[in-house]
Every structure is written in C-alpha cells, then in structure tokens.
Symmetry: C2
Subunit: 140 residues, 2 copies
C-alpha cells in the first residue's frame, strides 16, 4: 500500500470542482486550497482525466471540471484512478522454494489480500463526491 496522500488530495480536488459547478477551475487555484504546488495538482488531474472523471481545457479561461455529476463519482473511482493497483503488498523477495511454507504462502496470502482489497473498494464505493460536498456544506 502506498504511503501517499494522492487519494486524499484527489478527493479534495474533485470536491472543489463539484463546488465550482460548471466553472472551470485552473490548477493554480486548486493548489492554493490544497496548499501545494500546481504541478502536483496537474499530475493528479491528469490521472483523473485518464479515468474520465474530469475534463480539462488548456488556454486562457481554461481549467478542469467534472466529467459527470458529482453523485455519479464514487471514492472507489477516485481510488482506482490515483492509486492504481492493489494496496496490500506481498513479499519483496520470493520465499524459499525449499520450504513447504515458502512454496505456498504466496498463493494463500494472495487470496487474503485480494479479499481485503475488495473490502476496501466496497467501502469506498458507498460514498460519492456529492456526499462529501453535502457534508462540507450541510446548508446549501
């Protein structure tokens, strides 16, 4: 599992875009709210664009906006877009083939880790960007 804050930042970014509605928001503006560098934001926006969660436009008056309604974007979508594969890691070195435990442990652990990752994704799938926005602005 990554020791990254990309997921947290990505949720923040999409919440800002949802907040802005149809107005495109540029990376510099987002960077101020997140309190980081605009390139870091553009890298994350790029990943979100590849996952079809946002659209971006270069040029004057450009920026990014949600590619679909905020209640159709789940945290699982965001997680997959910025964290990619599985979170829980296997051994680095292959365990010994000489040992009965070493030979089989990878397969057995693999099953456990897949189940765990599935649980993470199921949990994240229950919350949408619209839910996050609603909690930030309880009274619209």
């Amino acid at each position: 599992m990554p020791t990254s804050s990309r997921f947290a930042v990505a949720v923040h970014v999409l919440t800002l875009l949802a907040w802005a509605g149809d107005e495109p928001v540029n990376s510099a503006t987002v960077a101020v709210s997140v309190n980081t560098n605009a390139v870091v934001i553009r890298r994350i926006l790029c990943a979100l664009g590849r996952a079809r969660l946002v659209t971006s436009q270069p040029g004057a008056g450009g920026g990014s906006r949600l590619a679909r309604r905020a209640d159709r974007i789940t945290l699982r979508d965001i997680y997959r877009a910025v964290e990619g594969g599985d979170s829980f890691l296997m051994h680095r070195q292959r365990p010994s083939r000489r040992c009965p435990v070493g030979v089989n442990i990878e397969d057995v652990l693999g099953g456990v880790l897949r189940t765990t990752n599935a649980a993470v994704e199921q949990t994240l799938a229950r919350t949408t960007v619209a839910d996050i926005v609603a909690q930030i602005r309880p009274c619209t």
Copy 2:
C-alpha cells in the same frame, strides 16, 4: 498506507512457528524460508512479541514460538502488531484555511478513512493463522 512487506513477512513467520508446533525456531531458520536477513526477521519477531503473539528465548536451543494457539491469532492481530496505525493517509500539508473546502475536508475525509480502515480490520479478523496453515497443508 505503508509500502512495506512487513505484514506479508509477519504472516509467513507466524505460519512457520505454527507449523513447528512447540519446537522453538530461531531467526536464522526463518530468514532462510523468507529469503531475507535474520535481523529483519528479529525486528518483526520483536514487534510480534510486544503484541504478545510470540515468545522468544535467547541462548542455545532458543528461538521463538507462538504465544497462543494458532486458531486464536487473527491476521488483524498481526496487522496491528507490525503496521501499527491507520493505512489510509490524509494530506501532508494542512489544506488552506482560507477556503471553505480546505477548512472542512480533513474532518470529512477522516470519517471516510476511519470507516475504510475498520473494513480492512474486519476482513483480516476473519482469518486465523490456523486457517493459513490449513491452506498450506490441506492434508494433515
């Protein structure tokens, strides 16, 4: 979430100890099966000892063994022992206090991440070291 293999290695270690039954296993033997250095194993055994999952004895004929029955040690116990706190991370820098989203996003995300970590632990709690051993050695 850590980018470590400590959890995988720790499960491997406890599986070996369960396999060995009452025979103490020394760190050098474990290191061969895991295919790493004995100090790395001792560091993990030390964490498992602090969590009361194993007991270790120095001296000739010493080594480590399970502190309780393999069916009373869950993967959640192991996870907590070697990975410590929460897996899913927040922002590094505090978001801007000037922005309504920045002000509140940490609280909202914090709730989501707590829920997600709870789901991870619930999933891991369903499997014991004995279950792992049974899958490795289906016919006892």
